[in-house]
Symmetry: C2
Subunit: 271 residues, 2 copies
DNA sequence: CTACCAATCTGGTAGGGCCAATTGTAGGAA
DNA sequence: TTCCTACAATTGGCCCTACCAGATTGGTAG
């Protein structure tokens, strides 16, 4: 998630996309756009709040709320009596910043999808390993219950995106590690739309559901090697899908026709 | 990191601890304190902004900035024309929220330290695995350079906390996965103080430095099994240390008696 | 050249006011 | 009575002004 992604500018993506983006979020996108348009590099300073607010056509108050958000996500740094400075997005900014920008309609990028899945795989492996050791009877019951719900949704020809999320979150719960739960939850927030597209095909939903049951069995038996093998295979589905979807052509985008307008790639050098 | 942790209230901890907490951060702590003092549960609604601002003795403006931060960290949910609602911190809030509360002086909790290290270990394993495959000559050079700096600091009887962080971040860099870099960076932000305490003993710093060199060698040889073995041992140091440091004095709290809300649809009515 | 001071710029914050959306309720119509 | 409509209150979203404190800067006096 570099700031130099060649997708349409964020605010334009917001306007084009049908997704309802809260107005507060929109301002954040416009601030990012500003940084991109002015080719701000890491460590560069934004204009003073008063003038930036005027430039963006918003009040200083709304601007400061957006900046407070960006600061908590380590996208910018607020120095009292000095100014607001851009951070190095690809190294300093929080993972939540990725979630945020993704929510705002920035197009999925092949490299980002790959990186996301790589990290998610590491966390899921850890989760299932711990779950094999620590799972309780309650954890198993919950997992089986969710699996039954998933099957019901599939039978009704529904989209199992939320069921899938519930299953994986319950799996994370079974690890009895709340940090892990929260980090994986962030991934599900980030990939919500991607997964919805993925599960649009009911065959993938069915395959996923079958694998979930296998995962439950492995956790029940506390069979760590098998569980890891299964989770790798499970995540491999998505990996293969996105590799095929994103790699061959830049113009194929699952959700909506992408606007391949003239987008100059703003150079961003490493410091 | 439950909101019901029995540590002193956050704002009191801020005042007691010498750490300079920005005033904006302090307000966030007081909001958390308010939720704790009023025993707000997940889904509960805060008072209206105007009255909450008056209660906390701050302007509505400052309050909204703090709320914007808490919302971006998924600690609260802002519903337009309705109110501010507390989220389930254990499951919904972002990992950055942990960082934030830790920065504000909430005492390190044995369970949290264990959970943190478990997740960090998973990420570091993934990082070093990818680094073995993708590391460039430049990556190696950077790692060796940092190691040399570390040795120099050790020779000068300094604290190698920042060197250690630089090393692990460079290692994450060598994985060529920016998501991984950012997530690990968040961990270093969270554990900065802990690591400083850990490295107060130069013997631990020396041992760490030696292990770093071994890690570099394994990455250079692209020897994944050895690298993983080394990184596990490396992180095991900290794990053992904190287990011994925190376990004896701390009383353990029941892990999670509450049921999860992952499966059932969240329905929050107003008032 | 230095030391000092004042003007200026910065973010931090308080407070008032207006708007739109939502909600609760009272009143009127069937 | 029941239903529905219209009004009023509440709430967050946002703008604006004003003031404060720290930092910077530039000029001036020594």
């Amino acid at each position: 998630m570099s700031i130099a992604v060649s997708a349409p500018v964020v605010s334009a993506a917001i306007a084009a996309a049908g997704n309802p983006v809260p107005p507060g979020r929109a301002l954040i996108g416009r601030i990012i756009d500003y940084a991109r348009a002015h080719a701000l590099e890491a460590g560069a300073r934004f204009p003073a709040e008063r003038s930036l607010a005027q430039t963006l056509g918003v009040g200083r108050n709304a601007l400061r709320e957006a900046l407070a958000t960006l600061e908590s996500l380590r996208v910018v740094e607020l120095r009292p009596n000095s100014g607001v400075y851009l951070r190095a997005l690809d190294t300093e900014s929080s993972f939540e910043a990725t979630v945020l920008l993704a929510e705002m309609g920035s197009a999925p990028n092949a490299a980002e999808v790959r990186e996301t899945i790589e990290v998610r795989a590491a966390l899921e492996r850890q989760a299932i390993t711990l779950a094999c050791a620590r799972r309780t009877a309650n954890d198993l019951t919950r997992l089986m219950h969710i699996s039954a719900d998933t099957a019901a949704v599939l039978a009704a020809k529904g989209n199992i995106t939320t069921c899938d999320q519930a299953f994986h979150l319950a799996l994370a719960h079974a690890s009895h590690n709340s940090v892990l739960v929260r980090m994986l939850n962030a991934f599900y927030c980030l990939t919500l739309e991607r997964r919805r597209v993925f599960f649009a095909d009911p065959r993938r939903g069915l395959a996923s559901c079958v694998q979930h049951d296998q995962l439950i069995a492995a956790i029940e038996q506390r069979n760590v090697p098998r569980a890891i093998k299964l989770i790798d295979a499970h995540l491999g589905n998505a990996q293969v899908y996105w590799k095929e979807t994103l790699a061959p052509s830049h113009r194929t985008k699952p959700k909506r026709p992408t606007r391949t307008g003239a987008t100059r790639a703003v150079e961003r050098k490493r410091r």
